[in-house]
């Protein structure tokens, strides 16, 4: 198969698809053995297509679940007028809860409440579960076996992110011990919260590192 034809098929498929397509999915479009491109060929074509969007109104974006054509944020004010419906706004409570789940996953509802200082409404959790931005990753083996929540690929897709690594960084905790030695803040490792965020390893995998800590 000629490069041009391959590129056209991939472009058309990505534009016609409802969501993102990954390389495996794109490979499935080619049924005949003799026409099946290699992964590298697909990757090369994708890179060309990404480059061809330069300066245009749409871009080919790599997100968590694959590649997706989407409109550029620069044209948002005009394109949004196509629809009458206003985009949903989220409350601070929902955004703060979501942030805690994303940055400190896996985390229980109790632990979220501890940081926020207020109870988390069931509605907030329900909305997040329903949007499939979060999911139950397991249960904490403490009395009551509370659910441990974590973020999903859908969450990344929705915010056009490839990995958790691309999220805005969490502000560092100021070092109380150094600036205020008179405040004896106890064990230093309790301040080390960075270890909560998923870390992308060399192989490109996301690992949730660091056990979830609770403070008493």
């Amino acid at each position: 198969m000629k490069d041009d034809q391959l590129k056209n098929i991939v472009e058309a498929a990505l534009m016609a698809a409802d969501g993102a397509l990954n390389i495996d999915r794109l490979l499935q479009l080619f049924e005949l053995e003799e026409e099946k491109p290699s992964r590298d060929q697909i990757k090369k074509v994708l890179a060309t297509l990404v480059a061809e969007c330069e300066g245009r109104g749409v871009e080919l974006k790599r997100i968590a679940s694959g590649y997706r054509y989407q409109t550029r944020t620069e044209v948002q004010p005009w394109v949004a007028r196509l629809w009458h419906e206003k985009p949903q706004r989220y409350t601070r409570a929902l955004l703060e809860t979501l942030s805690l789940i994303v940055y400190r996953q896996p985390i229980t509802r109790g632990e979220i409440e501890e940081v926020r200082g207020v109870s988390v409404s069931s509605n907030t959790i329900k909305t997040l579960l329903e949007r499939e931005w979060i999911k139950v990753m397991g249960h904490k083996e403490v009395p009551g076996r509370p659910a441990l929540y974590g973020s999903t690929k859908k969450f990344l897709d929705y915010f056009s992110l490839k990995t958790l690594d691309e999220l805005p960084s969490l502000a560092e905790l100021a070092d109380l011990d150094q600036e205020h030695p008179e405040l004896d803040l106890g064990a230093p490792e309790e301040n080390d919260d960075q270890a909560k965020l998923g870390v992308v390893t060399d192989s490109g995998e996301i690992e949730i590192v660091g056990p979830n800590q609770t403070r008493h």
Binding site: V79, P87, L95, Y103, G117, F159, P168, A174, L176
Partner: protein, 285 residues
């Protein structure tokens, strides 16, 4: 945190309205402790909880969290709590717990401490840590809100296919699943007890839909045409009940030109609703 960061954050906060009172965005929180009663509830709504309120009180004095001024902050916090009580607002337990914690810290700082206990934890440390921790997530939640979001900042591309001769496979659904979903949602909503759903026969619901379908075709249908005598007494009653339900719900209206003239059913009068959002859109927002 440096002083510079502190100032820039304050500036940022100043630009965003933290509450809207009667359509007017309030960018500057009330300066003193007197807050007009109407505004208080909105004012408190602007806070996500006791930590948020404390952060605000600290920021208002342009202070670093690290140098938490327990005395002033406790006093201010207590005044707010008192005010809430005066307004007889329902006080969230979390606010009271925080008040107790502040009082405890204050009392411990007031008490003279024996020299050997100097090494003991500063009672402020835990509170400072919590405030810092909360502030980090408050900030990052704002950042997450700014991320480009599908259907707000960016939109998916949907290019049509050249030919339409394909039939897109649809998911199959088992009736059992629909029933189970209903059972589940009703259990969750605890509607069995409070709304007597069980007493409303399904046939009435179905008949309500059928009445509406007839009105969908014609806007004006004679009353008797809704009734099929062959259905017998129970069928007629069901139809009548369905009509009463629809009238009660302001969906249809009965019209009669003069006494003894034929009665007509028509969709309820369209009120002037141009300036109002659809009910479902309001809920959706």
């Amino acid at each position: 945190m440096t002083d510079n960061e502190n100032t820039s954050q304050d500036n940022l906060q100043g630009e965003l309205p933290f509450a809207v009172v009667k359509g007017e965005p309030m960018t500057v929180p009330p300066e003193d402790l007197y807050i007009p009663p109407d505004a208080l509830e909105i004012f408190l709504d602007a806070f996500e909880g006791p930590l948020d309120l404390l952060l605000y009180l600290i920021k208002r004095q342009n202070l670093d969290i690290l140098s938490l001024p327990v005395y002033q902050i406790t006093q201010q916090y207590m005044s707010y709590i008192e005010l809430m009580q005066e307004m007889r607002l329902e006080l969230a337990a979390e606010y009271l717990v925080m008040a107790a914690m502040l009082a405890e810290i204050k009392s411990r700082l007031l008490l003279p401490r024996p020299v050997e206990e100097d090494e003991e934890d500063d009672p402020r440390a835990e509170l400072i840590r919590r405030l810092q921790e909360y502030e980090r997530f408050k900030k990052v939640a704002e950042d997450v809100d700014q991320l480009p979001r599908m259907n707000r900042d960016t939109f998916g591309v949907s290019v049509l296919q050249a030919e339409y001769d394909y039939e897109r496979p649809q998911p199959t659904v088992d009736l059992k699943d629909v029933i189970a979903a209903f059972q589940d949602v009703m259990q969750r909503a605890k509607m069995f007890a409070s709304h007597h759903v069980g007493h409303e026969p399904l046939s009435v619901r179905e008949r309500m839909s059928r009445v509406l379908s007839m009105l969908h075709v014609e806007d004006f249908v004679e009353f008797s045409r809704f009734y099929d005598v062959e259905e017998g007494r129970s069928g007629v009653i069901v139809t009548f009940l369905a009509m009463l339900e629809l009238i009660k719900g302001h969906v249809i209206e009965l019209v009669q030109a003069e006494p003894f003239a034929p009665i007509y059913i028509k969709p309820a009068v369209k009120g002037d609703v141009t300036n109002e959002l659809a009910e479902d859109e309001v809920n959706y927002e």
